[in-house]
């Protein structure tokens, strides 16, 4: 444990700080490691500092792990510095004088130290103490700076900050907010969020959603604490990934924008026999009405004289609700991992400290029953959501009601939903919670709700289940009788109450046509990418984890060309151990059922860092220790990953790919480490594929230049166009001033691709491309013409790219690519492609 010395002019102040610390730090060992120096031995003038006392104190608490000194002001600083001059230099080397404000800093430091943190972290924690206070008071840096020039406060550290512009379609709404809170929660650091002067604790879902951050708005994040840097790095990465919504349909039920649908919202029966609402999930349902009477549960017992018992009941009910939420998530997650995250939001609501504390307080102080306390607290929360100035977030109120009811059900019983329906029916309800939508039996044909909006989670989940749905139908429950035949048009938002035979026939036809169209699309996604003259390419998906495989296959992927392992590391808050890595790789390769899977080893560095891993600040991170260079510098991490990969290789067609290789020597070195890992496993009698295929990313210009040499040693290449372009064009992706120069359409990049493909084919090895370029439909003639064997891209682009390829002939594409190689600028190449497309159309 590190030692701490508190130096004050005043004995009373030192004693006061001691009292504050001892309230929070009770371990005798931790207390013993803190020394308090205050005042002078002069009865009449006791205020002052004495370097000798400071020296003694430091010596007293000094151990192997060093000493942190906190001082109040003026001579306390000079005395501490003087003391260091007198101390054994070996001890002095490990003494840090800390610029933190003494009271806040001392408290933060004492707590950190008692947790066993090292000197560096304790110092950072202490120095960050001021930031919390500032943000609490809502001061920004300028205002908080002391008015007096040169006063010591100026030099205080402030915690780390990060500004992010939110680009998510619906802003930082429930799902991304849940992701955000989940990520923040993995770190020790205090993380505050600020938007336009409003503050939120990043670890509280209610506070974060309460900020109502919309698309295009900027959030200011302040992190203080030992792992603040890592936390911000993880958040930055999450933000780049649009909090899990990148490449994903915006979180919105597929809303029909036809004027009827929108205008009809809530208009009720304006046309004879037709009720109108908001179309939130398309499709046609024809069937009988089933009226669901789900009213909120009524709390009957308000008071209890055994708060202990009530707290226990609350605890049980909450835990059950969390479990139920997780089950619902798992049920939805299989088919739709994106939608499943709504339940993460629910889980966070259920685990929100603020709500929990408020409930417990009412049980303890107002002798309320668990159900009464829970209801009143969550009612207030519902109210809060309803008053948020953002229609999207207002609709989150339904989610709060959902968890409220879920817990109440646990507390006072009562099942809301029938587990069985009388047959295929259209469910009619006042309002459905997301949980109820998921729990609707499979006989459900469609849903109509009297309440709800466009983007309520219930609507989203209905869409995810493929159930035609209309919400906000005024007069619905009063206007529809059980068993009545209905036609629900989820595209227009119309509900036909008494359809005649002709209307029904017409809708049946449309229903059929729609089904066929969906089917056609789905089928075409699975069609191979073969040109009209029979040249075929493999189209694969880029994924971030095994959970993405199912979606990729459904979207038409024939394998995985790039599994980015960074996310596994990021999500585990550092490095997942060998077993859990192996489990993820194995899950992916098994889910692919024999289709090829290329896994890239950890590609950290550049703009990506690893939580928990202190990243050294580099002047030019993209030219720094990234990719394979990082793993060479951390052989233990690399080794564990290689072992996990090899172990998983036993279960399918798994290939390993190294990032950022710049020379055959580096490739050999990586392969040697792989060999070593393999020998270890063989000795441990753990099965692995001894003939595993090993390749590399071509993304460094030197690798292009030596591609022939690399091809002689590698089993495959995969061209990473994003980095290759920035390196060839010597422009930093992260520098807005030059990022515009970067384009894969530049003939220099195309020539690099050309050279790489030729070198690969000369050596008879497979060459793919996994950068963004591979998914660009307008680039299809170049990609085909340059001779790439495989294109790997994000899932949503697959079907389209396949279609684009099917429209080409290899011969035309080769001519087009040949011409592009002779161009002298990206613009010329684009013009060429445009002309080519024109030719295709005619």
């Amino acid at each position: 444990m590190i030692g701490i010395v508190i130096v004050s002019h005043s004995r009373e102040l030192a004693a006061g700080i001691q009292a504050l610390i001892e309230q929070m730090v009770s371990s005798p060992e931790a207390r013993e490691n803190i020394a308090y120096v205050g005042g002078l031995d002069d009865e009449s003038n006791p205020i002052g500092t004495d370097p000798m006392q400071v020296m003694e104190a430091i010596t007293r608490v000094a151990g192997e792990e060093g000493v942190l000194v906190l001082m109040d002001l003026g001579s306390a600083l000079l005395s501490a510095e003087t003391a260091l001059d007198f101390i054994d230099p070996e001890v002095a080397e490990n003494v840090r004088l800390c610029a933190a404000p003494i009271v806040e800093g001392a408290l933060a430091a004492a707590i950190q130290a008692s947790l066993g943190a090292d000197l560096e972290s304790v110092a950072r924690e202490a120095e960050g103490a001021l930031a919390m206070k500032r943000s609490q008071l809502g001061l920004n840096d300028e205002e908080a700076a002391p008015g007096v020039q040169g006063a010591p406060l100026k030099e205080e550290e402030d915690g780390l900050t990060l500004d992010l512009v939110i680009t998510n379609e619906n802003g930082l709404h429930a799902r991304p907010a849940a992701r955000f809170v989940g990520c923040a929660g993995k770190f020790q650091a205090e993380i505050q969020l600020e938007k336009a002067g409003k503050h939120a604790n990043a670890k509280s879902i209610n506070q974060v959603t309460g900020l109502a951050v919309k698309k295009g708005e900027t959030i200011h994040i302040i992190a203080t604490g030992s792992d603040a840097a890592e936390a911000l790095a993880a958040i930055r990465l999450l933000h780049e990934d649009q909090f899990g919504e990148k490449d994903v349909q915006p979180l919105q039920a597929p809303v029909q924008t036809s004027p009827t649908a929108v205008n009809a919202g809530g208009q009720g029966e304006s046309v004879e026999g037709i009720l109108s609402g908001i179309a939130v999930s398309p499709g046609i349902a024809i069937g009988e009405a089933f009226l669901l009477k789900s009213g909120p549960l009524v709390v009957k017992k308000e008071k209890s004289d055994s708060p202990e018992e009530e707290l226990r009941r609350l605890d049980v009910a909450l835990r059950e609700a969390v479990t139920a939420t997780e089950q619902e998530k798992a049920a939805v997650g299989k088919s739709n991992p994106q939608q499943a995250e709504i339940f993460d939001f629910h889980r966070l609501l259920l685990q929100d400290e603020e709500t929990l504390e408020a409930t417990k307080k009412r049980i303890r102080e107002e002798s309320k029953t668990a159900e009464a306390a829970w209801q009143s607290v969550t009612d207030a929360l519902v109210e809060r959501y309803r008053n948020i100035d953002d229609s999207y977030l207002r609709e989150r109120a339904a989610d709060v009601v959902d968890i409220q009811q879920k817990v109440l059900r646990g507390l006072i019983g009562g099942d809301l939903l029938p587990t069985e329906l009388p047959g295929p029916v259209i469910v009619i309800a006042k309002d459905l919670s997301p949980g109820e939508v998921v729990a609707l039996p499979p006989e459900t044909l469609g849903i109509c709700m009297e309440e709800g909006g466009v983007t309520s989670h219930a609507a989203i989940l209905a869409a995810a289940r493929g159930l035609p749905t209309i919400t906000a139908i005024r007069g619905l429950c009063a206007g529809v009788a059980d068993g009545q035949l209905l036609i629900l048009d989820g595209s227009t938002g119309q509900l036909h109450l008494h359809p005649d035979a002709a209307t029904t026939a017409q809708y049946r036809e449309r229903q059929l046509a729609a089904e066929q169209q969906v089917q056609r699309l789905r089928e075409s996604a699975q069609l191979p990418a073969i040109t009209r003259d029979d040249h075929s390419l493999r189209i694969s998906a880029n994924i971030g984890g095994p959970q993405d495989v199912a979606g990729a296959l459904a979207g038409g992927a024939e394998g995985v060309g790039l599994f980015r392992t960074e996310f596994l590391f990021q999500e585990s808050g550092g490095e997942p151990d060998e077993d859990s890595q192996c489990a993820s790789y194995r899950a992916a390769v098994e889910a692919l059922a024999g289709r090829p899977l290329i896994i890239r080893t950890l590609d950290i560095g550049g703009d990506k860092s690893l939580p928990g891993m202190s990243s050294t600040c580099e002047e030019n991170p993209f030219l720094g220790r990234r990719g394979i260079r990082f793993t060479f510098a951390h052989p233990e991490i690399f080794k564990r990953q290689l072992r996990a990969l090899l172990r998983a290789s036993h279960y399918g067609d798994l290939k390993i790919m190294f990032p950022m290789i710049g020379s055959p020597g580096e490739f050999r070195r990586a392969k040697a480490m792989l060999q070593e890992a393999m020998e270890e496993l063989q000795q441990e009698k753990i099965p692995c594929n001894a003939a595993i295929k090993v390749g590399l990313m071509i993304e460094v210009p030197s690798a292009v230049i030596l591609a022939d040499q690399l091809a002689a040693e590698a089993d495959f290449f995969s061209i990473g166009t994003n980095d290759l372009s920035q390196y060839i064009l010597a422009a930093d992706r992260g520098n807005a001033g030059v990022a515009g120069l970067i384009t894969p359409f530049h003939p220099a990049v195309l020539r690099a691709v050309d050279a790489t493909v030729k070198a690969a084919h000369e050596a008879n090895i497979h060459v793919g491309m996994c950068g963004a370029f591979a998914g660009m439909q307008e680039a299809a003639p170049l990609l085909v013409g340059l001779g790439l064997d495989e294109l790997s891209m994000n899932t949503p682009g697959i079907a389209g790219q396949k279609e684009a390829i099917r429209a080409l002939t290899l011969k035309d594409a080769q001519e087009c690519a040949g011409a592009a190689l002779r161009c002298s600028s990206a613009e010329e190449v684009q013009q060429l492609l445009q002309a080519f497309r024109g030719g295709l159309r005619n």
Binding site: G48, T49, M52, E81, A151
Partner: protein
């Protein structure tokens, strides 16, 4: 030449001067600080005075170093580490000496000034004792050739001028810095005590 006994006498006189000027220095500090500089200096030098009997017969380096150590652990304010360092540095620079010429005094002032910078990171115009020591060192350096007494007269005159020149400055170090502009118009207490020390040295030599 200044003898070892004269150095002891200087320190003894300094103790007397600090006691006599306790109010004066404290009043200066009351205007722009925490009203303790006189108390601090008096406490420190009375401790030094107690030590003097033990120091008889020791070389001047040792005497100065011991003085520094004593001040360091007894003054109690910023001036403790500052003057402590001044005397320690000077003691190191003059180790083994039994008498001092003007050259040596020059060394004493230089190492003293360097000690202040090392400890307090003060620069010219910060309104600290440095603003006295810096010009004194310059004048001393230019007047090494003079006899000690004449040499010291020059130095004291410089110090007095420099002390008064701190009045219009705005403090950027120490307690006074918290006052900002309100520190303007008062002499810096540390500059005053430094001048007193120099004057005491001159008076010791003058008195024989």
């Amino acid at each position: 030449m200044i003898t070892e006994e004269q150095v002891l006498a200087w320190l003894e006189l300094s103790a007397t001067v600090m006691a006599e000027n306790k109010e004066f220095l404290t009043d200066l500090d009351a205007a722009i600080g925490d009203a303790d500089h006189g108390i601090n200096m008096n406490r420190g030098f009375s401790k030094v005075k107690d030590k003097l009997p033990e120091l008889a017969g020791k070389d001047i380096g040792t005497i100065l170093k011991t003085t520094g150590m004593t001040l360091m652990s007894s003054v109690g304010g910023a001036s403790g580490p500052l003057y402590g360092t001044v005397f320690m540095k000077a003691g190191q620079a003059l180790a083994g000496k039994t008498e001092l010429g003007s050259d040596d005094l020059c060394t004493l002032f230089q190492s003293g000034r360097d000690g202040i910078v090392q400890r307090g990171k003060a620069v010219a115009g910060d309104k600290t004792m440095f603003d006295v020591w810096a010009p004194v060192v310059e004048v001393a350096d230019a007047n090494r050739g003079l006899e000690p007494l004449a040499f010291l007269e020059m130095c004291v005159a410089t110090a007095e001028e420099a002390r008064d020149a701190t009045a219009p400055m705005q403090a950027r170090k120490g307690r006074a810095s918290y006052l900002g502009e309100r520190s303007i118009g008062h002499i810096d207490p540390g500059a005053a005590s430094s001048t007193l020390l120099l004057a005491a040295l001159r008076d010791t030599i003058k008195g024989g």
